[in-house]
């Protein structure tokens, strides 16, 4: 009993030390002084809260038709003449509360951005490891595809895929993964190749360790910092790509409006002076992506300045 | 009568970094006469290069010249504006860098890079500049100079590049050339050629040369006088013959003993124990004390002041070595 207590304490001390080490590191020192990075973190936290508990706080579920009344349509934001505080950011042409729509929309945008990033990083890592580890034909096949793909803008490839596959969140995730894997694959492949040459892999082989195990065990920690930077920035890029596709009418379905689709819906009524229906969703996209990029930019400068 | 060209007085150049202040140059003083070759010697990290760059005021953030005077022809460079310094750089004082592989701009031809100095600092027209470039390349021993004008740096070998750099440094006939480890990056066989060339050109034109090097052997052949720097401070200064044959400071003695000698076969090459101290936490007393064979209690507490031992020979040590090379 005492023994386990001691071990528990040891672990606790270790944890504390690690936290202390982190708080005293140059990384954290620079973070504390980097105002954009802090603002970015705050924005991201706010959006994550909005996506998780936001729906409980807002007045309306914009998908529930029974909560929407047409007579509330075209209400301007609360601080403008004719606005009410019931609809702080106004309503759209259907009488939907813009703030509620934005909260639900952020949820979808964030979900797509994060899931797309996770899928891309997973598939990209696997393919990169395969290319670097097996080499030869597999390597040149994967990398040739990556090269060709990189000479075309990602948005255009995604647009092409979506125009054939049709609207839908699942299709969007597929499209984003298909354009997003390349950067991970390249990073991981490069690291695998340089690691393969190192002596300890050879040494491991001599004593009979499967080099596959050595490589995965050593490479992944090595490329982790680069991956974190890439992944952070990619979430922002994906949110923008999704928004663009949805704006063009090939993104999310109308029943699950993301921020991008909300902007598009607002576009149709912009010329009749209903500016708030498109302004606020767009502003939220900008804030979210700006927040992610401010943090990502700091991470890149600190962790891996060589990445562009 | 010798004429004084440069006088550095109590120069302090500090770097303000995340971890604290690095006193790269900490109270360095020296004089340089016209036509004289002065060596600045010391281990890497001793503040030699920073001293050189300070004279041209090419110190970048987070570095800063904190204190001191740099009198060049009687004018204090420390007080000069950037605009005034630009007129001095290249025309009155020029510089030769350590690594010829990286000192030339890869995208410009040799002619462009030498001619640029003439373009900025003289009134020559294009034809005159071209002719001067040819003459300069010829002076520094580049064969077929005319054919080489349009070459790019990558088409030159390291030694050739350093010759081209010397040509650029000489182009506007400066009064002072600062050479920062000019041969360290070159092959041993080429080192001697380049040094001989530099000495010849400098003496011909009565130009002064400040030769920065970690290599006492280089200094011995080249210079008239030398100063020994350690951790940003002057340890010893004097005529080169005195320094080589009768070093007074234990550090100079240590440096000399770590040079391999062909005629000396019996002894193992000695070295100075330990490493250059962490620049953030310099020792309290003499900076060299922790590595000094002759360290006494006083050395650990009190910082020694530089003093003249005899005419022209100054040292910063509480217990200088006697003239015979043993301790007092």
């Amino acid at each position: 009993m005492a023994e386990t207590n001691k071990i528990g304490k040891d672990i606790e001390i270790k944890k504390k030390n690690r936290l202390k080490e982190f708080l005293e590191s140059e990384f954290f020192f620079n973070y504390k002084r980097n105002i954009p990075a802090i603002i970015g973190t705050i924005i991201i936290i706010i959006f994550l809260l909005m996506a998780t508990i936001g729906p409980l706080l807002v007045t309306q579920n914009p998908y529930n038709l029974s909560e929407i009344q047409l007579m509330d349509a075209y209400k301007p934001p609360a601080w403008v003449d004719g606005g009410e505080w019931k609809f702080p950011l106004g309503t759209d042409s259907q009488g939907r509360d813009i703030l509620s729509s934005v909260v639900y929309g952020s949820r979808i945008s964030l979900f797509i951005g994060l899931t797309g990033m996770l899928l891309s990083s997973f598939i990209g890592t696997v393919l990169g490891l395969a290319a670097g580890y097996f080499g030869g034909k597999i390597d040149s096949f994967i990398m040739r595809i990556a090269d060709i793909q990189l000479s075309f803008p990602a948005t255009l490839i995604a647009l092409f895929i979506m125009s054939i596959a049709g609207r839908g969140i699942d299709n969007l995730l597929i499209a984003l993964t298909l354009v997003g894997w390349v950067i991970y694959a390249r990073t991981v492949r490069g690291a695998t190749l340089s690691e393969k040459k190192k002596e300890y892999v050879e040494a491991g082989k001599v004593i009979g360790l499967p080099s596959r195990k050595i490589i995965t065990k050593h490479i992944l920690p090595n490329v982790m910092t680069s991956m974190i930077v890439i992944a952070t920035i990619q979430v922002g890029t994906f949110i923008l790509t999704e928004a663009t596709l949805s704006f063009l009418g090939v993104g999310v379905p109308v029943t699950r409006p993301s921020l991008g689709l909300l902007v598009k819906n607002g576009f149709d009524v912009l010329f009749s002076g209903l500016w708030w229906a498109s302004t606020f969703p767009g502003l939220f996209i900008m804030l979210l992506v700006f927040g992610i990029n401010m943090l990502g930019d700091f991470l890149r400068d600190e962790l891996n300045p060589r990445l562009k | 009568m010798v004429e004084k060209l440069l006088e550095v007085k109590d120069l302090k150049t500090y770097f303000h970094t995340f971890k604290g202040i690095v006193k790269a140059v900490d109270g360095v003083s020296f004089k340089l006469n016209k036509g004289e070759i002065l060596g600045i010697v010391g281990e890497s990290g001793g503040g030699k290069s920073v001293t050189g760059f300070s004279i041209l005021k090419l110190i970048d953030d987070p570095g800063k010249i904190e204190n001191g005077e740099i009198l060049f022809n009687g004018e204090n460079l420390v007080n000069k504006s950037e605009k005034e310094m630009k007129k001095i750089r290249g025309s009155k004082i020029s510089m030769i860098f350590q690594d010829p592989m990286t000192s030339l701009n890869p995208l410009y031809t040799i002619q462009q890079q030498i001619g640029e100095v003439l373009k900025i600092h003289t009134n020559m027209n294009a034809e005159q500049r071209k002719q001067r470039c040819i003459n300069l390349l010829d002076d520094v021993g580049i064969p077929q100079p005319e054919a080489r004008l349009k070459s790019y740096p990558h088409q030159f070998s390291g030694g050739m590049r350093q010759r081209a750099i010397i040509a650029a440094a000489l182009a506007a006939e400066p009064e002072l050339i600062i050479a920062d480890e000019p041969t360290t990056a070159l092959d041993v066989t080429i080192q001697a050629q380049i040094l001989r060339l530099m000495k010849k050109l400098v003496k011909e034109k009565n130009t002064s040369l400040l030769l920065i090097t970690h290599d006492l052997a280089v200094v011995a052949e080249m210079v008239d006088r030398a100063i020994v720097l350690y951790c940003g401070q002057v340890m010893e200064t004097g005529k080169i013959d005195d320094l080589i044959h009768q070093p007074i400071h234990p550090y100079t003695y240590g440096l000399l003993n770590s040079i391999p000698r062909l005629n000396d076969q019996k002894k193992r090459l000695s070295q100075i124990e330990g490493m250059v101290p962490n620049m953030f936490e310099l020792p309290k007393g003499c900076n060299y004390a922790p590595r000094c064979d002759y360290c006494q209690e006083r050395c650990l507490k009190e910082e020694p002041k530089i003093r003249e031992i005899y005419e022209g020979h100054r040292v910063s040590c509480h217990y200088p070595l006697s003239r015979e090379g043993s301790h007092e």
Partner: protein, 321 residues
């Protein structure tokens, strides 16, 4: 040099070949084009006849070779909607797009390079940090939204700029160009601003990164020790070196602008090939989509090729012989 160019040309053809395979097979596996062509009440016999006419009853491989053969003859089929040659529709609209892209690229270069040089040369200045934050905002902006805001502010609210269309066009070298007329110039400003923001920000960041890297180099310090003046130090010695990595990604940047022109053209009703693509997607007008993709792929490959040649000719260290 000749050998290098032939090698690159061979690579170009290979890429286009791969793209044609992907486009063809992806298109073949999704939806039945015959159903798009016949009237809803067509009989089975009519459908079969249409299928034979289109060659869709043949094996896929044969169809692919017919597809390639037709492409090489410049025949991408007829638009289902316009009942016209798809390639002709795109070529007709290409000048409008290229004009918009050209102005945007020019705008980004003119703004991004000086700002990038400044921010890279003096990274610690407050103004540099502001520029960098601004460029970060630039890449964070949903650009369709920026277009809409521009329309709302300048066209709807202040009514100083036109909100859509291309304005008056004149003939120039056989193309219909609008920028040379006052009206056309007015029409292109907003879309060009919208389209240039993102690439401007990216170009600025790349230039700055390149400058920061170059400013650390010995040859910059050597140039300074020669007394080189500030402007020539930054814009000649440093910028030329800093631009080499920038140029390598410039092709893909222009490609991005062409891709995003689809969005801009949709918002500003700019009669270019991008708007045609979006309209065709919404109407499932497959031949036009295929034609657009193949042409744009060709443009991209060509751009990358040109960029490579420019890059190799700027850097004397690359010897192609």
């Amino acid at each position: 040099m000749f050998k290098y160019i032939t090698k690159r040309l061979y690579q170009m053809i290979l890429v286009l070949f791969v793209v044609s395979i992907i486009v063809f097979f992806v298109m073949s596996f999704t939806g039945d084009p015959v159903l798009m062509m016949v009237t809803p009440d067509a009989t089975q016999a009519q459908i079969d006849r249409a299928r034979t006419e289109l060659g869709l009853d043949k094996p896929l491989i044969t169809q692919y070779f017919i597809f390639v053969k037709n492409i090489l003859r410049g025949d991408f089929g007829k638009s289902y909607v316009f009942k016209q040659s798809a390639i002709k529709l795109i070529i007709e609209r290409m000048p409008a797009t290229l004009e918009l892209v050209f102005v945007s690229v020019l705008l980004s270069i003119i703004v991004a390079i000086p700002l990038g040089v400044f921010a890279g040369a003096f990274p610690n200045k407050r103004s540099s940090k502001t520029i960098m934050l601004g460029s970060l905002l630039g890449i964070s902006l949903p650009n369709f939204w920026v277009g809409m805001m521009l329309i709302f502010v300048f066209a709807v609210h202040f009514r100083v700029m036109p909100s859509s269309g291309r304005g008056e066009v004149v003939n120039f070298l056989g193309m219909r160009i609008s920028i040379f007329t006052a009206d056309g110039f007015k029409h292109i400003i907003l879309p060009a601003v919208m389209l240039s923001i993102q690439s401007l920000a990216i170009l600025l960041r790349l230039t700055r990164a390149g400058m920061m890297e170059v400013m650390k180099q010995d040859y910059i310090k050597f140039a300074r020790s020669k007394g080189v003046l500030q402007n020539s130090l930054l814009f000649q010695h440093a910028l030329k070196n800093a631009l080499i990595p920038v140029i390598t990604v410039f092709g893909i940047q222009i490609g991005k602008i062409i891709a995003f022109a689809t969005v801009t053209e949709t918002i500003f009703s700019w009669p270019g090939m991008g708007k045609l693509l979006i309209d065709s997607i919404n109407r499932s007008d497959r031949p036009v989509m295929v034609a657009y993709l193949m042409i744009v792929a060709f443009i991209f490959v060509l751009l990358n090729f040109i960029v490579d040649i420019v890059y190799t000719s700027i850097d004397p260290r690359i010897d192609l012989r």
